[in-house]
Amino acid sequence: MISRRERALNYAILTVFAALALVPLLGVVASALTPAAQSSPSFTWPDRLDLGNFATAWKQGHFATYLTSSLLVAVSVVVLTATLAILAGFSFAHFDYPGRSLLFYVTLIGLMVPPEAFVIPLYFNLRDTGLTDSYWSLILPQTAQSLAFSVFWMRNFFRSVPAGIIEAARLDGASDWRLLWRILVPTSRPALLTMAMLVFMWTWNEFLLPLVMITDENKRTAPLGLAFFQSEHTTQYSLLAAASIIVALPVVALYVFLQRHFISGMLSGAVKG
């Protein structure tokens, strides 16, 4: 059906844009593999491959600590968000009570409100309760932020489960709690995976919140650590590039394996109330 010329043109366009997307990132990879002696303030093409920058960046930049912080925060946010979103999504999809749609729309506010809006009062509230500079100051606000999308996502999924399955469970005398955890949650595994991936990525990449909340160097998240590392190593780009890869790699690796989940989830992220 597709003519040869058309196909060639399509591939050409796709190739050009794939290259445009990749070149800056490949520049970082190439620079990171450049021997330290050959380093410059910009991209470099290595004479020989050298993994030394990664070791140096890892040690000098304390990235082991930063990655641990990021991992701890991101996993906590994912688990908390998933649990709360499953419960709330179930409520909005399967129960009937006054104010249900109003409460649902209230949760959706979080989709449109930028973190810049609530970070100021949040900082002073948490400071007054002594929670700044703790992982809680990252975990709880980011759970709140992720809930808007996640509740919406789970509610939609639960509503799509065929009524027959639910009726059958009810006839078997399953309680709401059992219905949710034994039937609905297992069937929603693909949706849960997509949601978990997205929440993990958003939390891992978040910058403003850790910048505001964290002053203790040992609690810095990976992107925050990178920003500080950058201001200290502006001239040695190969080192900075290696550090950038360390920070980006966990999410990119997940993306390589689960790209369909990422893309479908992110493109549906724009919602109208």
């Binding site: 910009s42 930028p114 100021i120 932020q145 709401d176 505001v212 950038s244 920070v247």
Partner: protein, 315 residues
Amino acid sequence: MAVTAPRPTARNRLAGAPTGRSARRRGRVQWKGYLYALPALTVLTVFLLVPLGQLVQISLYHWDGVSASTWAGLTNYTDIARDPQLRAGFLHAFVLILFFSVIPIALALLLAAVTTRAGRLRGVSVFRAMIFLPQVVAMVVTATAWTAIYAPDGVLNAALRTVGMEAVTRPWLGDFSTALPAVGLIGTWLQIGLCLVLFIAGIGQIPTELYEAAKIDGAGAVREFFAITLPGLRGQIAVALTLTVIAALRTFDLVYVATHGGPGNATSLPAFEVYNRAFGTGQVGSASAIAVVLTAVILLLTFLITKLQPKEDGT
């Protein structure tokens, strides 16, 4: 709502109303529903909704974050209109919309029109994954990559020198006239993949018969684009606009790492001013007022964009 990726759409068609109806049939208020929603609503209220309310309150005071605050009324707001530096911040944000939204969407539409049937090519998912990659890389890393491109001895200047355009070379992010467009182009690079992937998926959902009918009617490529492709992509365009406009207005990490708002205030943006004033210069009230206005602008634009969306998609 607008769900564009193929799978969620199928899911939503199913979503109809079967389960909601079965609940209603029983006809009584299911109080347990509140219980299930309670934990999520509590977290949302404490960490998002209450702070939002407090933000408005703080914006009405002069406060340095430490000593007692004094009533300011609306002066923090009127200052936004009066202070040229703040006005510039909002102006820059609107310039960024051009780079983050208008250019990527226009370009992606054009490309999508040419690659009408790219969705059905072999290996398209690999291309899609590569084109979409910038979206998942941490902004701090993206900024690091582009600072190397724009650096005085960077890739861009080196390329210009090799083609004999020595005169044009400059420290792109350090030059008053080019810093903002340079930041904007990073945004174009970031968003074009998102738009392209969205539109290619959208075109795949337009019935082929429409294109065949147009061919039979003798419509050229241009008419085909305006009569079929463009209206068929209305939902996707609305989604792309929402995502990219919000991204443009919220830009913070990129500017924080790449330019720190400079040179001078050539790349200062509302989100950056919010951070800078609240946590740098001790003007918490003013920062809050900027945050309120920024949020209002985002909500207003999101609302206007949803008006573009085809009606049958609504929740």
